[in-house]
Amino acid sequence: MDPREITGLAGLGVLLLLILLRIPVVVAMIAVGLGGSYALSVVAPFLRFEPYLRQFKSMLWESMASYDLTIIPLFVLMGYVAGFSGLSRDLFDGIQAMIGRMRGGLAISAIVACAGFGAVCGSSAATASAMGRIALPELKKGGYAPGFSAGVLAAGGTLGILIPPSVALVIYGVIVEASILDLFRAAILPGLIAVVFFVAVIALYTRLRPEAAPVIPPMPGPERLRALLRFLPVAGIFGALIFGLAFGIFTPTPAAAIGALAVILYGAARRLITGDGLTWNGLREAVLSTAVTSGMIYAILFGAAVLTSFFTRSGLPMGLADWAATARIDPYLMLVICLGCLIIMGCFLESLSMILVIVPFLWPVMLAVNGGEYVSADQAAFGLGPDELKIWFGILMLIVIELGLITPPVGMNVFIIGAITPSTPMGSIFAGASMFFAAEVVRVGLLILFPAILFVLI
């Protein structure tokens, strides 16, 4: 290792330390980027600090003035408006009206509703929070075991990170310069597979332990009809978004804008017809909440740009890639090691920051292991060209990062659900979610063995 790479490695260590010391991730990234670049100019004088500083004249504005990134605040807005306008309630009630009466039906309704809401809001935390507030009281009323119910909601929330439109996929796409539309299309089938697996887990568990999920009486006829009628426009919005993206009818930014508009109109219409839809105050709070979430994401994206610039100058990512290319480690073993590291890191770090900090290191390694930037699919170690590898690795990575949301000690989704149901011990929520962890491991294995699943819709 040369002094530049050692400086890069030291920078990575300081960054992780600052993050663990609760320094805001964006501040840690910019501070390490600046400090590290100064240190580089000392150990390698040809890497002058002045030119590095001068890029800040336009770097921030140019990072923000991005057409592709506009989908982030638009999808975030759509998610918040959906929450404030009662869309999530209509979604859950509609699915419950259809399948709620079968054994485990309420839990299955919650999983399907989580997938649907995740498709609208693109955030795991928002999905867990919104659906947890709606579904948990219903599950409790239905006599479902508290730990099982909370575990279902915590795991169901993870569906939001992958099912398009997904904010995490947009960020990954920006970092590795992949087509966001292709990423969205590739994520649809793995997302649906997750729903099927989660439903299978619930069916199996409730068959083995019927007392955990009693059969509930069917919804009365008029109530059922009302729930189904309210579900129709919600299904229309979801369907239009998913099928529009899958079949290339629209690109992500128009989809985000039109989706946000559709949800606002839906909430306004619900307010006019039923009196309990989107209010002015609700819309205002949705905009302000969008500002907070989007501000966090934009800031962290800029922080990552500053940091990546430092790491690139240090030569550390390329040094790692060179090592990986010559290390004679089986490519699949390398992939499993990378995914294993992500699972472990996901237990301690927040998912977006992890993508931004780790991907600049892991992506060059995966690319090198696969055979380099110009390798053809038939000669590549994974049988995928570089563009396909970006998509495959991105989806696998997001799935394992999702696992961190239901794994101790951080397990953000578990804490969100725990806050909604304080009487349920955290240990039993983690236990409830652990069944789904196993299903996710199977899904990862399936996608590693059959990467073609991802490319069916592209």
């Binding site: 320094i23 004249k57 336009s58 921030l60 504005w61 629209f250 969008t290 500002a291 907070v292």
Partner: protein, 168 residues
């Protein structure tokens, strides 16, 4: 402070609303164009649509930073600090907010220099050829406001007051 950061974030929200409206019109025009093509009627999309979206997005994104700071929205992992004694948490907040103030001022300074240079160089958007520099200044204001918010939070943390401020 809450009213100020909310107002500034709502300006960003207004930019988002404009993006939504422009996109709806643009998508409508493209859909009409596809539908009416058979009758040899062409409906053009909005000229320079992407340019306008980029400019509005730049204003919106940076306008969100101060509110995000005020409501404690920036991601932080409290794994080591949360279980520590209260004074450690307080000292940690003071350091984090002071560092944030410094970084926000640093960004405001360089962005202001950038705005002057972009004006001098006459940089414009790709299609509409609108000058870029006027859209730098809302960003500079956002960074200054971010610094102000972080400075106020530093003082509050020194006095031992609440770290972040929830919805008003």
């Amino acid at each position: 402070m809450t009213a100020l950061v909310n107002f500034w974030a709502m300006i960003g929200g207004l930019c988002l609303a404009l993006i939504i409206a422009l996109t709806a019109v643009n998508v409508g025009a493209l859909a009409a164009d596809m539908a009416l093509r058979g009758w040899d009627i062409r409906v053009p999309g909005i000229y320079g649509y992407e340019d306008v979206v980029k400019l509005l997005a730049s204003v919106a994104a940076l306008a969100f930073f101060p509110l995000c700071q005020w409501r404690g929205g920036h991601v932080a992992v409290g794994l080591l600090i949360d279980p520590a004694p209260r004074w450690v948490g307080r000292a940690n907040r003071v350091i984090a907010y002071a560092l944030t103030t410094g970084i926000a001022l640093f960004l405001a300074w360089w962005m202001a220099i950038g705005a002057l240079e972009v004006r001098r160089d006459g940089l414009t958007t790709g299609i509409l050829e609108w000058p870029q520099w006027p859209f730098y200044w809302p960003g500079v204001v956002s960074m200054l406001l971010w610094a102000l918010v972080a400075a106020v939070m530093t003082l509050n943390a020194l006095k031992g007051e609440e770290a972040a401020h929830g919805p008003a």
